[in-house]
């Protein structure tokens, strides 16, 4: 492992390009490539309420995926006979309100944004639970780290506006 260049500061265009690319990989179901966007210790986290990572030890989250669990989720989605993604969700991510917020205690760049995520599951005529389009709203907190292979995500925290409310099928990647 070579030394990370901590002097390399993240500019807004680079941050946006990474998040847009992530959105495109999710929306085109290139999930195995999506996995490579994360650092080895990266976390993909959908908490039930706003809070610090340390809170996850004593609470439940909607999703709390380390590298193994993320790989498992992608495997499940793509390579197993899932019912809840058959038919699959179509998604569309819109990224807004991007702000660079300096660095966190690990030296990772902090990037905040809002996302609008549209989802639709197509199915036969009159099938209960299919065909409607949902709009999910999320406040996102990305932590990005400079690595030899470019900027990588060390954390993606996605706080849904309705995180502690009843949520139907959330088995696609957000």
């Amino acid at each position: 492992m070579t030394t990370v260049d901590r002097t390399h500061t993240l500019d807004r265009a680079t941050a946006e390009a990474l998040i847009y690319r992530e959105a495109r990989l999710l929306d085109t179901l290139q999930l195995e490539e999506w996995l490579t966007l994360f650092t080895e210790d990266g976390l993909y986290w959908l908490p039930m309420e706003d809070g610090d990572i340390a809170d996850a030890a004593t609470t439940i989250s909607i999703v709390y995926d380390d590298t193994d669990r993320r790989a498992e989720r992608v495997f499940r989605t793509l390579h197993t006979p899932v019912l809840d993604q058959n038919p699959r969700s179509r998604t569309m991510h819109m990224v807004n309100n991007v702000e660079l917020e300096g660095t966190d205690e690990h030296g990772d760049a902090k990037v905040l944004c809002n996302q609008i995520i549209g989802e639709n599951r197509p199915g036969g005529d009159g099938q209960v639970g299919l065909n409607g389009t949902r709009v999910l709203l999320a406040r996102c907190d990305y932590r990005l780290r400079a690595t030899d292979s470019g900027w990588r995500i060390s954390m993606k925290k996605l706080l849904l506006l309705n995180a502690d409310q009843p949520i139907y099928n959330l088995t696609f990647l957000l």
Binding site: T59, E72, V82, V128, G129
Partner: protein, 426 residues
């Protein structure tokens, strides 16, 4: 226009369950009919015992939790006398709710409309501009209505709005020992519910969830994806899981209770409790201090326990089924800590819970997918009856009066619908 006569069964909804000697059948109006749903709310949920909250959600005087009994809003409230009251969430003046939060603490409940105020036990303590009422206005007659029946069993709070239900002890007796074993996985015999539950709605009837929680028949098909995930993780091969799934039994009980049971065991290979005892010696010694090896074997059996009509007790969660309309349901998974165990043990339980349950889990959403498939399918008519007779020819009745079936049999579902039939036949 000629009046269409009401079908005969509408005069007695109990006839929608056919409890024959070789066949047990359900008329699918029970999933699609608004009038049946209204009758269920009145004659089941609002007439018999239902689960409302856990004591750890209202630990101190002034703490409250709002919820529903059937379609009626209630407040579970701990008064300064330390007692838990279950109060209809309705101002006696003009009918507004007096509390809109989910969970909280307050010294009194104040109606937002005209400031009528109630103590935590529901007593009316004052009205705004009270001079508009005569001096002899009897406030004691205008308190919030309490549920006639409230009973806490080892922290699980049940309430009953009906006047003619069996006593709590009578009603709970068939399932009590299993609930005891479930709680005794904590060396202190208690649990603490975490503040935020997982919740998922689905556009389908509440009984799909009630039937499925102790169904041991669907796992190999609905959860094949989960089996592949476990196999990939090196935890179990699909063949081993399928062998395991034929072990254990189902139990159907009086008053509609029932369960799915997988056998326990003291060693790490035999059960989750066994694995935790091996991993955390302090947990093993704490259990051994309180229980015999035979008791620990019972405690270590994994059971999905259904307490009719709205409660499931699972390894990681208290699951509450909330019917909304005939085709709309909300399920709430209250994950809990086992008290008196290492923190890491509970943290492992939370991560295991997230992996399978909740809106993004690798298991629950597959079940929900079936519920909506069912809700679509039962619109097809001219068939009318669903078959729930699996295992009738091989189940036995034990000395406790339980029906005991193969782990894939519909024994507990029949118990559920025998109670449904009893309550809906009045």
């Amino acid at each position: 226009m000629v009046a269409v006569p009401e079908p005969a069964y509408r005069s007695a909804y109990g006839d929608l369950v056919l409890d024959g000697s070789r066949e047990f059948k359900l008329h699918t109006d029970i999933y699609t009919d608004r009038d049946v749903f209204d009758a269920e709310m009145r004659d089941i949920f609002e007439s018999s015992w239902v689960y409302v909250a856990h004591e750890s959600q209202v630990p101190a005087s002034g703490d409250y939790k709002t919820t529903s009994i059937g379609s009626q809003p209630v407040i579970v409230s701990r008064h300064e006398d330390g007692q838990v009251y279950v109060l209809l969430n309705r101002c006696r003046h003009r009918g507004s709710v007096v509390c809109r939060d989910d969970l909280g603490h307050s010294n009194y409940f104040r109606c937002p409309y005209h400031n009528w105020s109630y103590a935590n036990d529901g007593k009316l303590v004052g009205m705004a501009q009270a001079s508009g009422y005569p001096d002899d206005f009897d406030k004691s007659q205008w308190g919030m209505r309490p549920a006639p029946g409230v009973h806490s069993y080892r922290g699980l709070i049940f309430a009953c709005l009906g006047e003619h239900a069996p006593s709590f002890d009578e009603w709970f007796a068939p399932v009590r020992k299993y609930v005891d074993w479930w709680l005794d996985r904590s060396p202190l015999g208690t649990i603490t519910v975490l503040p935020k539950p997982h919740k998922y709605p689905y556009p389908g009837n509440w009984k799909w969830q009630a039937e499925n929680g102790h169904d041991g028949y669907h796992g190999n098909y609905v959860h094949e994806s989960w089996q592949r995930v476990l196999e990939r993780a090196g935890e179990d091969s699909v063949r081993d899981i399928r062998k395991y799934r034929t072990g254990g039994c189902t139990r159907g009980m009086k008053y509609g209770h029932g369960l799915l049971e997988r056998p326990g065991g003291l060693n790490a290979a035999a059960s989750w409790t066994g694995r935790m005892m091996a991993k955390y010696p302090e947990y093993a010694s704490a259990l051994a201090a309180s229980f015999s090896p035979q008791e620990i074997e019972e405690i270590s059996a994994r059971r999905n326990i259904f307490v009719f009509p709205n409660l499931y007790l699972f390894d990681t969660q208290i699951r509450v089924i909330k019917p909304i309309t005939y085709d709309s349901t909300e399920v709430q998974l209250f994950v809990y800590a086992l008290d008196g165990v290492p923190d890491a043990l509970n943290e492992g339980r939370y991560r295991a819970h997230e992996r399978f349950y909740g809106p993004s889990g690798f298991g629950s959403p597959d079940d929900v997918e079936i519920f909506v498939c069912n809700q679509t399918g039962v619109r097809a008519r001219g068939i009318e009856w669903a078959l729930m007779s699996r295992g009738m020819h091989r189940e036995v009745t034990n000395e406790d009066g339980e029906q005991v079936g193969h782990s894939t049999d519909e024994t507990p579902v029949r118990a559920l619908y025998r109670e449904w039939k009893r309550l809906m036949s009045k």
